[in-house]
């Protein structure tokens, strides 16, 4: 168990972030907090990818570093793309939150439900 913690702490950290994010998205009634949760959730996945590319004692895959082993750059490149997707999603989500606040005067899901019933 301790062995697993010391050798795989990076994976455990990303799974923790993953779980925390998912919990916030589902558990928090506040829409902005849900967006934050979604971001934490995604960061967990991003870090998972990034950490898989690491090779013990590997050098950065840049010409002229002259080492024998390099870390894998591909997961990092993929995650750059995924980060861009994540930023766009956050932007759209925040824009929607502004419209929801204009319409209902609240960001609390429970309050919004009450307003909807009153309509």
């Amino acid at each position: 168990m301790i062995d697993l913690l010391t050798t795989h702490y990076n994976y455990i950290a990303s799974i923790l972030l993953f779980g925390i994010g998912l919990y916030v998205v589902m558990g928090s009634p506040n829409l902005v907090k849900k967006i934050i949760g979604m971001n934490i959730f995604q960061v967990g996945i991003f870090l998972f990818f990034v950490t898989t590319g690491y090779v013990d004692g590997g050098a950065p895959p840049v010409v002229g570093h002259g080492e024998e082993t390099f870390v894998s750059p591909l997961p990092h490149v993929l995650i750059l793309t995924a980060i861009v997707v994540g930023v766009s999603l956050t932007a759209v989500a925040l824009a929607l939150v502004i419209r929801i606040y204009d319409g209902y005067g609240s960001l609390d899901e429970d309050v919004i439900k009450e307003v909807q019933v009153d309509d």
């Binding site: 995604q42 898989t52 997961p75 759209v92 929607l96 419209r99 929801i100 319409g103």
Partner: protein
């Protein structure tokens, strides 16, 4: 000559810039840009389809990097008809939107972006690239759903965004597991790589679970459908029609590609739980979706739950790992797009012209709008699965496939679902044709019809064309199958 394939994605992305960029100077430029994009897209997809008919499979290496290292785009007998379907749906929806709107330039930018995303999902042969296209599709859809001005639409869109993002992220995590185990992202390359790692490897099984769950969220199969009724019901009619026709279809196609091209039928044979779980989940979805549809009073919500049920059929056919059933699934994907898109537009015509939106309001509608009512009836009966319409061809093949595979329970569920489909469409059609309108309800609906828009010829024409297309596709069903079958045969 395979450039047409990549242009199918590039042209809509480039076109999406113009409505916003030129919007300040020309107020109504959006529709014209989108229409031009739609026509070019149709030309390109027809070229791709012609090439596929001639040479079977065509592929394109993006940026000149040879696969498996670069991103590869592929068109075969399954994706080529679906790409043509994208072009035709885009043009149909644009003909409808000319009068019905939304008229903002941003709307047409988002529509072009969605066209790009869906074309990309159909064309790509790279699992990470698929994630990117799924997210482009998602982002454009969230924005389109919110283009209805009400705060309800924004809330439905945000809910869709949360659920959709979690689905796509699960897919991405699954791709991560696949990449760690195999070191490749190209679908054709993954086929052998996954087999050599071993189907029983825990990491491969995890990746399968994550990827399939992620895609099922996007397909909107019960119980992962929670985003879908709100998104379809709250968005403008034009948007409901377009996304119901194509967005879930794209995700379902991705599911077919991933399960059969990456994991293959050998995986499904070895891990029988995988196929069984899919079939079980889908069967529940078929029945629950239909029962929920029967319970709805709002027509758009009813059509939305109907999609949950119909996509259950498609997923069940995918899980059966039987060739006939899989052909049926693809035919039903095409058919469902035509039928459901057409139905949403017909409901839009009724709502715009007569201000009716609920099943109650539909009483005596046939006398007031005979042509649209006839189109609705044809599309509804096609969805039930009455020959010769396309709904029958898809369902028939799925049932025959289920019987071939010895899955009698699926065959029974499909028959039950047909009856339930008849139940929810039957009560609407019965009201339209055989119930006299209540005078008070009539007065309310004319007051409620505060949309000053008149139903245009284009709007009616699209509705009629989709009804005719549903029947013609059914008659030509065997020709469609001869195009699709060779591309699916290779998986078995």
């Amino acid at each position: 000559m395979t450039d047409a394939l990549v242009l199918l994605v590039v042209v809509p992305i480039a076109a999406s810039l113009f409505p916003v960029a030129l919007g300040g100077r020309f107020e109504r430029i959006g529709w014209f840009v989108a229409a031009a994009m739609g026509l070019v897209h149709l030309g390109l997809s027809a070229t791709v389809a012609a090439q596929v008919l001639e040479s079977g499979v065509i592929s394109y290496a993006v940026g000149g990097f040879e696969p498996p290292f670069g991103i590869e785009l592929v068109a075969d007998g399954v994706s080529a008809p679906l790409l043509v379907l994208v072009s035709l749906s885009t043009l149909g929806v644009l003909a409808y939107a000319r009068r019905a709107g939304p008229h903002s330039n941003a709307f047409y930018s988002e529509l072009a972006l969605l066209t790009a995303g869906i074309s990309g999902v159909f064309a790509t042969a790279d699992v990470f690239n698929l994630y990117v296209f799924l997210e482009i599709t998602g982002l454009a859809t969230y924005a389109l759903v919110a283009s209805g001005r009400s705060p309800r639409a924004a809330l439905a869109s945000l809910k869709y965004l949360f659920v959709g993002t979690i689905g796509a992220s699960l897919y991405l995590l699954g791709v991560g597991y696949l990449y760690i185990m195999t070191g490749t992202l190209n679908m054709a390359d993954l086929t052998g790589a996954v087999a050599s790692v071993g189907y029983t490897s825990p990491a491969i099984l995890t990746s399968f679970g994550l990827i399939v769950t992620g895609l099922l969220v996007k397909v909107a199969v019960f119980p992962l459908h929670t985003w879908q009724p709100g998104a379809y019901a709250e968005s403008p009619d034009t948007v409901s029609a377009y996304i119901s026709a194509l967005v879930s279809t794209a995700a379902a196609y991705a599911l077919v590609r991933i399960i059969y091209a990456v994991y293959t039928t050998k995986f499904l044979d070895e891990i029988s739980l995988a196929g069984d779980a899919l079939v079980a989940l889908a069967s529940v979805s078929i029945v629950v979706g239909a029962v929920l549809a029967v319970m709805q009073s709002d027509l758009k919500r009813m059509l939305a739950y109907s999609s949950v049920s119909q996509f259950g059929l498609v997923v069940a056919a995918i899980g059966l790992a039987n060739e006939t059933a899989l052909v049926g699934a693809v035919v039903h994907l095409v058919g469902h797009a035509v039928m459901k898109g057409g139905l949403f537009l017909t409901v839009g015509v009724f709502a715009t012209g007569l201000g009716v939106r609920t099943v109650e309001d539909f009483a005596g509608l046939a006398a007031k709008a005979p042509i649209s009512s006839a189109a609705f009836a044809v599309l509804a009966f096609s969805m039930v699965g009455i020959p010769p319409a396309v709904g029958f061809v898809g369902k028939w093949n799925i049932v025959v496939g289920a019987v071939e595979a010895g899955a009698w329970s699926v065959a029974a569920v499909v028959v039950v679902s047909t009856l339930l489909t008849l139940a929810y469409f039957g009560r609407v059609i019965e009201r339209m044709y055989f119930t006299a309108p209540e005078p008070e309800a009539d007065a309310v609906s004319t007051d409620g019809g505060n949309d000053a828009v008149e139903v245009s010829f284009g709007m009616r024409a699209v509705v009629v064309v989709s009804a005719v297309a549903a029947v013609v596709l059914g008659v030509l069903g065997s020709d469609l199958i001869t195009v699709i079958q060779p591309a699916l045969e290779v998986y078995f």
